[in-house]
C-alpha cells in the first residue's frame, strides 16, 4: 500500500491521531494522563505535560472548544496545586517536584519510583504553555495563568541540586538523592533553562556550565555534532524551545546551534541505518533508534544468528544499544529538522504496517527481526504517551511554530536561555 495522500493531509491525520491519545487516556477527575494505553498503566507526569501543551493546539486546530480545553487544563493544574508535597512516601512529590509515575486516580506514587526533576520539567513546560496560551479574561483562564505560575515558582531547583553543581536525576524517600546528576548532553536543556529562570529558587549559571562540561563534539560518519545516541535527546527540549540560530558558549565555539545539531543527528541516524552494521534490515527510510518499548529481554537464534532483545530502553546510534527495534516517533518528531527524511520514513512505516492508519497513532516500537504475530516481526502493544506528545508538538512546530512562539513571548524561556549564555537569533 502506498500512502496516497499529500504531506499536509498525512501530517494532519498523524497529529490528530496523536491528540486522540490525550483525550482517550486522561482521567477526567484528576487530569492525569496514562503513561501508556495498556491496561493498568499509571500516569506519567511528563505525559501530563505533553497533554497540557496539546490542548492549545487542539483549540487552534478545531478539535476542542476553547472552554473545554481550558476546563481540562484547569482540572489538571488544580489537582497538582492541591497535591501533598513532602518527604514522606504518601506525598505526590517533594521540593515542588513530582514522582515520575502516579496512580491515575489518587495521584499517589507507584512502583517505588523517584521524584523526577526531568519529568517535572516536562510537566511544568506544559503548564507554562497553557499559561501562555490562555490569556483571556475569563475566570478559568485567569486561574490557569495563576496556577501555572504558582506551580513553577514553588519548584525548588536548588533543593534538587543538593549542594552539587548539577541537578540530581532523582530523589527517593528510601534512598535520598540518586547519586548521579544531569551531566552530558541529554534532553535536560529545558530543565536547566527553566531552573535558571526561576524567580524563587533559581539554579546558578555554574550549574549549566557544569552540565555542558562533559559535552563531546564529534565527527561521526562525516557529520560534526554534539553527540547523544538516542534520538529523543535531540528532540524533547526542542518541543518547547526554538533553538534556531541561538547559541550558548559551547555552540558559539563550534559554530553551530542545537537545532542544526539535531538535524545532523538525523543524518547520523540515517547513515547508521544505511550501513546497518548488525543486519537488522534498516535503510534510509527505516531508521530511528531512541527510547522505546522492545520485544522483551531475551536471547534468540534468528536466521542463524544469536540475537539479544531488550525491553523499554534508550537505544542509540552509533554506539548502541541496538537490538533491531525502531521507534517510529524518532523519525516523525524529527520533522522540523529534516522534513524529507521524516516524511519518507513515516510513509515507509505505514506501507509496512497499513493498519497503523486505522488510528494514526504510531506504536512505541517495531522490530522486523524479533518474532511477532506475523512475518513482519514484533510490534509493541498499545501506544505510549510520550511518543504521542512529542509527535504532536513537533508536527505542530513544523506546521505553524505555535508552541515555539507561545514559549518565546510569555514564559521564562527567554530569561533562562540568556542566563545560560545563549545569544543571537530571536533572543
Amino acid at each position: 500500500m502506498t500512502v496516497h495522500i499529500g504531506d499536509e493531509e498525512l501530517l494532519d491525520r498523524l497529529e490528530r491521531g496523536a491528540f486522540g491519545y490525550f483525550i482517550e487516556e486522561m482521567n477526567p477527575r484528576t487530569g492525569l494522563v496514562s503513561d501508556t494505553s495498556r491496561e493498568d498503566s499509571p500516569a506519567s507526569i511528563a505525559t501530563v505535560g505533553f497533554a497540557l501543551a496539546s490542548y492549545p493546539v487542539s483549540v487552534e486546530r478545531g478539535w476542542l472548544a476553547r472552554d473545554d480545553a481550558a476546563a481540562r487544563t484547569l482540572t489538571t493544574l488544580r489537582f497538582f496545586q492541591g497535591s501533598k508535597q513532602g518527604s514522606d512516601p504518601d506525598s505526590m512529590g517533594n521540593g515542588g517536584f513530582y514522582y515520575h509515575f502516579l496512580d491515575l486516580e489518587s495521584g499517589r506514587r507507584v512502583w517505588q519510583c523517584e521524584v523526577s526533576p526531568i519529568d517535572t520539567t516536562l510537566f511544568i513546560a506544559g503548564a507554562l504553555t497553557a499559561g501562555a496560551y490562555f490569556d483571556g479574561d475569563a475566570a478559568a483562564e485567569v486561574e490557569i495563568r495563576r496556577l501555572a505560575r504558582d506551580l513553577y515558582e514553588r519548584i525548588d531547583w536548588e533543593w534538587a541540586r543538593h549542594g552539587k553543581t548539577t541537578v540530581a536525576q532523582g530523589w527517593k524517600p528510601e534512598a535520598g538523592f540518586l547519586h548521579y546528576g544531569w551531566e552530558g548532553y541529554s534532553e535536560a536543556t529545558l530543565l536547566y533553562v527553566l531552573g535558571l529562570a526561576s524567580p524563587t529558587h533559581p539554579l546558578p549559571p555554574a550549574s549549566y556550565a557544569g552540565w555542558t562540561s562533559t559535552y563531546q563534539w564529534e565527527r561521526i560518519y562525516g557529520e560534526d555534532l554534539l553527540y547523544a545516541g538516542p534520538m529523543f535527546i535531540h528532540q524533547f527540549s526542542h518541543a518547547w524551545i526554538d533553538f534556531r540560530r541561538i547559541r550558548d558558549p559551547f555552540m558559539r565555539e563550534k559554530g553551530s546551534d542545537y537545532f542544526e545539531n539535531s538535524g545532523r543527528a538525523v543524518d547520523v541516524q540515517r547513515e547508521y541505518a544505511r550501513r546497518d552494521p548488525n543486519g537488522y534490515g534498516y535503510g534510509p527510510d527505516c531508521w530511528g533508534l531512541s527510547a522505546g518499548a522492545g520485544p522483551g529481554f531475551q536471547t534468540l537464534h534468528v536466521g542463524g544468528r544469536k540475537r539479544r532483545f531488550f525491553e523499554y530502553v534508550a537505544r542509540g546510534v552509533p554506539f548502541g544499544p541496538d537490538d533491531g527495534t525502531i521507534a517510529p516517533a524518532a523519525a516523525l518528531a524529527s520533522l522540523p529538522f529534516r522534513a524529507d527524511a521524516a516524511l519518507s520514513a513515516v510513509r515507509h512505516y505505514i506501507e509496512l504496517y497499513p493498519e497503523w492508519a486505522d488510528t494514526w497513532q504510531l506504536p512505541s516500537g517495531f522490530n522486523r527481526t524479533a518474532p511477532g504475530a506475523d512475518s513482519r516481526g514484533w510490534v509493541s502493544t498499545g501506544t505510549v504517551g510520550l511518543d504521542q506528545g512529542i509527535i504532536l508538538l513537533m508536527i505542530e512546530n513544523y506546521r505553524s511554530g505555535m508552541i515555539w512562539e507561545l514559549m518565546r513571548r510569555a514564559s521564562p524561556i527567554g530569561s533562562g536561555l540568556r542566563r545560560a549564555g545563549f545569544r543571537g537569533g530571536w533572543l
Binding site: 562540561s213 562533559t214 563531546q216 552494521p277 542463524g304 554506539f319 548502541g320
Partner: protein
C-alpha cells in the same frame, strides 16, 4: 646474598640506590640503575615481579585468553564454522596453563638473573632505621637514595557478613581449583570486569555489582556502554548503581543482599570475588623514622616522585597512583634517572596509555574530553566506528570505535580512546604520535597494509585531513580538474 653480605659488612659503601619492593617499579628502577653501574640493592619480602606477575596482569590475561577461546568456539557458526559438540571446560587444565605461563615469565625476573645484572638481591622485610638507612633481617643497610615500591593489597569492603562468608580477591582467585558455578563479582573496575567476563565464558553464572551508574568510571561513557553490552552478551547479570549491603551463608551457598536506589534484591552465589581497588602497603616500613609523609591513600610524592625526604622516592601502587604495571615501570625508570643523576624528569610528562582487557578491550591515552574542557581547551573528536573498518568486519570484531581528540582547529592530539578487540595494540600508534609530537595530519600520511584494524586510526586521521581542506583550495582543485 653474597653481594649483599659483603656490602652490609663493610658499612662504608652505601648503596647509590636501595629499592624496597620487586614489583614493576622496583625492577625497572633496579635494572636502569644497574645498567648505569650504580650500586643497587633490591629488597623483596615475597615474590619477584610483584602482583603483576603473581596475581595481576599475567595470570588474568592468561585466563582471559582461554576464556576467549571458549567464546569463539561457541560463536563458531557466526564465522561459517560449526560449534563443536559438547563443549566442556576443564578448569584444572585452564589453571595449569596459568601457572605454567606465570612460571615461565617469572624466570625473567628471578633473583639469579637480577644478580647477574649487578643487582644485590636481598630477601627479607625492610624497615627504615633513619633518613638514610634501613634495617633488613637485623642488619643496617645504608643508602644515598632509596625507592619505596612496596605496592598495594586488595582493599577490604566493609560489608556485614562478608568476612564470615569468605571472599576471593585478585590475590587468591588464581589459586582456585574449581570454577565456581555461581560467582558474584563486587566492583566494576578493570579487575572486576575482566574477571567477570572470563569466568562467565569459562562456565560460571556470573553477577556483577557496581556502585556507580556505569562500569570503568574513569572511561568515556560510550566505552562503558559498549562494555555493558558485551558483558550482557556473555550472559552476565549486571547490577549498576547498586550497593552490596549484607552477605550471609545459607546452606551451601551465599546470599548477597543488594540495594539499588532504595530497591532491595538478593543474589545467591557460591563464591564472591571482590575487586574494589587497593590499599597502599605503607605500614610496617617505619616511614616515620625516615621522615616520609604518608596517609591511608599512600605515600605523598611530587611530580619528580620524591617523598617528603628528598633522598627517598616512591613509585607505583604505594602512592595510590593509577594501577597499571607499565606506568609503574615508567615511574621506576624516572626514579633511577632522578635519584642517580639529579634528573628532573616528571611523571606527568610521560605519554602513558592504558588498557582494560575485556572483550572488546578498552584503551586510552592522554586527556579525556572532560579534562580538556575543564582546562578550557576546545576539543574536536574524530570518531571511526569499527564497523567502518574492513578488517574488523572480516574478523567479526565490529564492536567498538576509535576516538581521537585534537585541539580544535589544529592537529595536536590531546588523547584517544579505542574500544576494539585489540585496542591495547591499536592505541600504541596514537601513543607513539603523542610521544614524538606528531600531529594527526602526519598520521594521515602514514601508509598501512590492507586490511588491518589499525586502519581505523588512519581513517580518523583522514577525516581530520578532510576537515582541514581549505574551501579556496577545494575550489581551485575543482577548477583545475575541469580544465
Amino acid at each position: 646474598m653474597t653481594a649483599w653480605a659483603r656490602t652490609a659488612a663493610d658499612g662504608r659503601l652505601p648503596y647509590h640506590l636501595l629499592i624496597i619492593g620487586a614489583g614493576p617499579s622496583g625492577l625497572a628502577a633496579a635494572m636502569a640503575a644497574a645498567r648505569h653501574g650504580a650500586r643497587v640493592a633490591l629488597v623483596e619480602r615475597a615474590l619477584f615481579g610483584g602482583t603483576c606477575l603473581s596475581a595481576g596482569c599475567v595470570p588474568s590475561k592468561t585466563l582471559i585468553r582461554t576464556s576467549r577461546l571458549y567464546r569463539e568456539m561457541r560463536d563458531a557458526e557466526q564465522f561459517g564454522g560449526r560449534t563443536p559438540d559438547g563443549i566442556s571446560v576443564s578448569f584444572p587444565d585452564v589453571m595449569k596453563r596459568v601457572r605454567n605461563i606465570r612460571s615461565r615469565l617469572s624466570l625473567q625476573v628471578s633473583a639469579e638473573r637480577l644478580t647477574t645484572m649487578g643487582i644485590d638481591v636481598i630477601v627479607g622485610e625492610a624497615r627504615f632505621a633513619g633518613p638514610d638507612s634501613v634495617l633488613v633481617n637485623g642488619d643496617v643497610v645504608r643508602f644515598k637514595r632509596a625507592l619505596v615500591a612496596t605496592g598495594a593489597r586488595p582493599r577490604r569492603l566493609p560489608v556485614p557478613g562478608l568476612e564470615e562468608a569468605g571472599y576471593l580477591t585478585y590475590e587468591d582467585v588464581f589459586d582456585l581449583t574449581d570454577c565456581p558455578k555461581r560467582l558474584l563479582v563486587i566492583g566494576g573496575g578493570p579487575v572486576g570486569c575482566e574477571l567477570a567476563q572470563a569466568f562467565a565464558r569459562l562456565g560460571s553464572r556470573v553477577a556483577i555489582v557496581q556502585d556507580e551508574p556505569m562500569f570503568l568510571v574513569n572511561e568515556e561513557r560510550d566505552a562503558a556502554q559498549l562494555l555493558s553490552d558485551a558483558l550482557a552478551r556473555d550472559g552476565i547479570e549486571i547490577h549498576l548503581d547498586t550497593q552490596t549491603t549484607r552477605v550471609h551463608v545459607e546452606g551451601k551457598g551465599t546470599i548477597a543482599e543488594l540495594v539499588n536506589s532504595g530497591n532491595r534484591s538478593t543474589v545467591a552465589v557460591d563464591r564472591i570475588l571482590v575487586g574494589v581497588g587497593t590499599t597502599p602497603n605503607v605500614h610496617g616500613l617505619d616511614l616515620e623514622a625516615a621522615g616520609v609523609a604518608y596517609d591511608d591513600a599512600g605515600i605523598s610524592i611530587d611530580d619528580f616522585l620524591r617523598t617528603s625526604n628528598p633522598r627517598i622516592y616512591a613509585a607505583g601502587d604505594v602512592c595510590g597512583e593509577t594501577k597499571f604495571p607499565h606506568i609503574e615501570s615508567a615511574a621506576g625508570r624516572i626514579v633511577a634517572a632522578n635519584a642517580l643523576f639529579r634528573g628532573r624528569q616528571r611523571l606527568s610528562r610521560e605519554t602513558i596509555p592504558w588498557c582494560t582487557f575485556t572483550d572488546p578491550e578498552i584503551a586510552h591515552v592522554g586527556m579525556y574530553v572532560t579534562e580538556a574542557r575543564r582546562r578550557s581547551i576546545p576539543v574536536m573528536t574524530f570518531t571511526v566506528l569499527m564497523h567502518e573498518v574492513d578488517r574488523a568486519v572480516i574478523d567479526g570484531e565490529e564492536d567498538g570505535f576509535v576516538k581521537v581528540h585534537v585541539r580544535q582547529g589544529t592537529g595536536e592530539i590531546l588523547g584517544a580512546t579505542v574500544v576494539a578487540s585489540h585496542a591495547g595494540d591499536l592505541i600504541n600508534e596514537i601513543s607513539l604520535a603523542m610521544c614524538a609530537g606528531l600531529d594527526l595530519m602526519t598520521l594521515a600520511k602514514v601508509n598501512q597494509p590492507y586490511p588491518t584494524q589499525s586502519q581505523a586510526i588512519r581513517m580518523a586521521a583522514g577525516a581530520y585531513a578532510a576537515s582541514r581542506r581549505h574551501p579556496i583550495r577545494a575550489w581551485l582543485t575543482k577548477k583545475w580538474l575541469s580544465l
